[in-house]
Symmetry: C2
Subunit: 271 residues, 2 copies
């Protein structure tokens, strides 16, 4: 097993460069850091091509089993000394595990949706932390797939990986154009419900049962006109406080769980 | 006006020390940083005792009006050079404004509640970012007061201030013991609804109308037995995905907006 002791080792430079989206996309890989995230990744059946380990940073006692499992699935294991690992790590307090993982790209035609799909469409979300939190909310609400339109933040940004707490590894996510998604939703006869502060209908008064896609816009601009005009329904969340108390991640979870409420009633009612 | 040019100035040291809760509490002050937060604070009628300004860091053109307003309300204005300000600032990209503000402490008997109170009780929340986000959610949902029991994270932590996006300045927040809050809620005949993954009743099937307090527990432990046993109702949020997809801030907003839905129906129905 290779052991890296210098902070100027080419592999260290390479790992540092992977913070940059361009380099991630050129290489078709991304970085997953920390025991918990790597554990979830392996549990979800996603396998790294390289696993960098720095035993001097280890915090627990289960690292051995995790390393063995990664190796069994074909990962190259590379050991690092304390300093070079700290240079590669994204976290302030690294725990000695950092995986380089091949990117994947799910297409609309790859989705295997149930008879009554429950989808989330997000347009041009800007902050990686919001995108990760939105993935968690989608997971908690039982969303079947997340369609990311006109991507601004890439799915493999380290903060998306971190804030999704592993949901990135299990949730089907399709990144594509608004055009493609609109065409797909129409072809699949999936109703679209756009959230916008300008709607008159409350989200709780709209029908969120049946085949439905909830549409959420970007932090700065909300949904674009093309989505607002195209949607079957436009809804708003009632706001009691200051105008910006609900950010896009909070608005998403509120809307999705109202849909969960309606959908559980609808199915238990035998419809 | 005093102008600070050295990073070893005693005022710089003092400001740095205010990152530490003990020093904040000893001095009875806290720090509000950045144009937006200071603007919201002044708008909410909260006035700083000192306003540190570093024109070399200014990003906009409205700082002058804000400084004048703070001065009019009694703030001492202290100018700083680029380097000492960067040392005091909490943010990576400071914008040249940092206020030192007296802490305030609202007591249960100070609360002015409407006839049908809608309260949020949080127990021992650990992460400042969660506490701030919970305050935002409470504001958006029209909560009348937030009761923080057995405080772990103090309300004046810089990350609470930041993540509450100004709600800290407008929302009545009482920090006290669980004992006191339980006694208060009983005396006021306010029903308590505890959220816990172990409940059988869904939050959407519980009655969240009338005088009600929603109870949320800590990140690590949930609600303590004393709150679970004492509550009038125990409810859970249905979870489709991995067990930890809903954190406490997300569970709070989901529960509060279900209450908003029920309460708007209840009032429009003439009850």
């Amino acid at each position: 097993m290779e052991r890296i002791t210098s902070t100027t080792n080419p592999r260290v430079k390479h790992l540092v460069r992977l913070r940059d989206r361009r380099h991630r996309d050129d290489d078709g890989v991304f970085v997953v850091e920390g025991y918990r995230a790597v554990r979830r990744m392996l549990d979800a059946g996603v396998h790294p091509q390289e696993l960098y380990i720095a035993p001097e940073w280890f915090q627990g006692s289960n690292e051995g089993a995790l390393i063995d499992e990664a190796r069994t699935h074909g990962a190259e294991i590379v050991e690092m000394a304390r300093e070079p690992f700290a240079k590669c790590a994204y976290r302030d307090r690294p725990d000695g595990l950092l995986a380089v993982v091949p990117q994947w790209h799910t297409r609309l035609q790859d989705l295997q949706l149930p008879a009554v799909p429950f989808l989330l469409v997000v347009e041009a979300i800007e902050k990686p932390g919001n995108l990760g939190t939105i993935l968690r909310s989608a997971d908690a609400a039982g969303i079947h797939a997340v369609l990311v339109c006109d991507q601004v933040t890439d799915m493999f940004n380290p903060n998306v990986v971190r804030s999704s707490t592993g949901v990135l590894f299990s949730m089907p996510v399709v990144v594509t154009s608004s055009d493609e998604v609109q065409h797909f939703l129409r072809a699949q006869k999936i109703r679209t419900v756009a959230t916008t502060p300008d709607a008159t209908l409350l989200h709780t008064d709209a029908d969120l049962t049946g085949p439905v896609a909830v549409l959420m816009g970007s932090e700065s601009f909300g949904l674009s006109q093309r989505w607002l005009a195209d949607a079957d329904e436009r809804v708003r969340i009632p706001m009691a406080g200051q105008a910006d108390s609900l950010n896009v991640a909070m608005a998403t979870i509120v809307t999705l769980f109202e849909a969960v409420r309606q959908r559980s009633r609808s199915s238990s009612g035998g419809q």
